[in-house]
């Protein structure tokens, strides 16, 4: 059964992730710990995006907007108002939840590409706003001096401590995703992703369930936005650039839509692979995108995505180079 193979692949990927996460700090490389920390944070956002897109089938570009609410919300509340960073994280999360309701409710009632178009505009608008609203956000200069999270004497400014915190958060998000995915709610999400009319004839509240997925994704994005700036102590517009939202989609598509561990693998690849090519400098991006393109051509469903048919490598060759079987056309 393909389902069984899929499950084994997911298990293997999960074991690989756990080994890598345990081994990275033991290696003694500060850089590796840093990149793995970033991976954990982005992976969490991508798991939430997977819930929204992979399960519920909703294409939304609003993730960076909610990350910005978390990031700037935390920065303003701690630096300007002197609030405790934990409290600021919580308040920013509530603000993101409210924003997700206000944005999601009207958009998710509509069919078609409204959600994608409107949230894409929102993503562009978010970047312009945080760049332009000098008085509030300091524009391109950003806001620095954001205090780190602390529990008693333990400060999460220390990279290894924050590393643990970020992976615990990622594990919680993953566990939440898994529990929801196999529940009746997850099943209803998968149903309405492709069969909205059928789902509604079965009494499923389609706009309500879409909104639930949208809000959950917003909550995770906001918390990641807060954690990120509390770690680096700085927030600036570049964290919410349009490149970031595209990277999130790359992470999801490389890892595999609708797969469980895929978003972590995808985030790891998109964060770490470009660093391995740092010697190539100018061609770094080009080579990286060629790798991504090849990967998606060979496995359109992503590394861990569920595929009904595998695409042979030869299918990538031009027709005249392809070996044809039994004289048939390729």
């Amino acid at each position: 059964m393909s389902g069984w193979i899929g499950r084994k692949l997911e298990m293997a990927a999960l074991v690989l992730v756990i080994i890598a996460v345990v081994a990275a700090p033991l290696s003694g490389s500060r850089l590796l710990v840093y990149y793995f920390t970033i991976t954990a944070l982005y992976a969490s956002v991508v798991i939430a995006l997977n819930l929204l897109l992979g399960l519920a089938g909703q294409v939304s570009f609003a993730q960076t907007t909610f990350m910005a609410i978390g990031g700037y919300g935390t920065a303003l509340m701690t630096v300007r108002l002197g609030l405790n960073p934990w409290l600021a994280t919580l308040l920013a999360m509530l603000l993101a939840t409210l924003a997700a309701f206000v944005i999601g409710r009207p958009l998710l009632r509509l069919r078609g590409h409204y959600l994608s178009m409107a949230t894409f505009a929102l993503a562009l608008g978010t970047y312009s706003f945080v760049t332009a609203a000098m008085g509030l956000t300091n524009g391109g200069i950003g806001i620095s001096g954001i205090p780190p999270l602390e529990i008693g004497d333990v400060s999460f400014a220390e990279p290894r401590t924050f590393y643990i915190l970020s992976w615990i958060f990622c594990a919680l998000v993953l566990a939440g995703y898994m529990l929801l995915a196999e529940s009746h709610v997850g099943r209803a999400w998968r149903a309405l992703a492709t069969g909205q009319d059928i789902a509604s004839t079965l009494g499923i509240d389609v706009p309500g369930l879409k909104l639930m997925a949208f809000v959950l994704a917003a909550i995770v994005a906001s918390v990641v936005g807060s954690l990120y700036v509390e770690f680096t102590s700085f927030v600036g517009p570049d964290l919410y650039d349009i490149n970031i939202i595209l990277s999130l989609f790359f992470m999801l598509f490389v890892g595999g839509r609708g797969s469980t561990v895929g978003p972590i693998i995808g985030a790891g690849i998109v964060v770490i692979v470009p660093q391995l090519m740092s010697g190539l400098e100018r061609y770094q991006n080009l080579i990286f995108f060629v790798i991504l393109l090849l990967l998606l051509l060979i496995r359109p469903a992503g590394l861990l995505g569920r595929m009904r048919e595998s695409v042979p490598l030869t299918a990538l060759l031009p027709g005249w180079l392809r070996v044809t079987r039994e004289g048939g056309t390729a």
């Binding site: 998968r190 149903a191 009319d197």
Partner: protein, 261 residues
Amino acid sequence: MSAPPELKLHGVTKRFGGIVAVTDVSMALTAGSVTGLIGPNGAGKSTLINLVSGFRRPDTGRIMFADHDLTRLDPSAIARLGISRTFQQAAPLVGLSVIENVMVGLHTRYRSGLGSIVLRSPAMRREARANAQTAYALLEQFGLAADVHAEASDLPFGKLRFLELARAIGMQPQVVLLDEPAAGLNRVETDRLAALIRVLRDRGITVLLVDHDVPFVFGLCDQVVVMNFGSVIAAGKPDDVYGNPAVREAYLGGEDQEAAA
């Protein structure tokens, strides 16, 4: 137990642009009966099902189910009142297994919220187990026990029809609207479908059946409604309707001529 409520249409009219698809249709579906709706192509039968199930809104007239006015409700709200429907195309929920398809039909029976799902509360697990068993029992009843874990979209067409019906019955409807359920089925499958529809009626479920298969409809229904050009031209017991000259002229006669040609 009190009898389930009647579904009533009062002077329902629907136009698409300049074309009147349904003209001033009134009818009542007696609770626990099977009503057949027949008529030539374009008579307005499917439009009528779309109106009752909320996929279209009537321009004038009202559709009542007990004290509920369905006229302005959306499909999901109408389904939650206990009115379920199937589609002509018998589409599966793609990417879901056969049993998952039926379990989506049971969705409204679940009471667990996000909290109990994430905390895996005993009540939530009990509920999930009970509903999985219900879904399996439905699949057995509809002759799909061997295909439980198959990908729904891999089923042959005949089985898809029964899967769709099992899914619609899963939400425990009081009324089911079946849009050409026998289309594409062979004789054996059609007979099994008729037997299943009788079982539904015996359980007190009201059935509205749109179909082209005249012997199938007349053999099964307690009441037959005939539509032509958007209007009801005859309604009553199958025998009375069958003998009605207007019906033979407009529909049965027309078909005979087609067959003769």
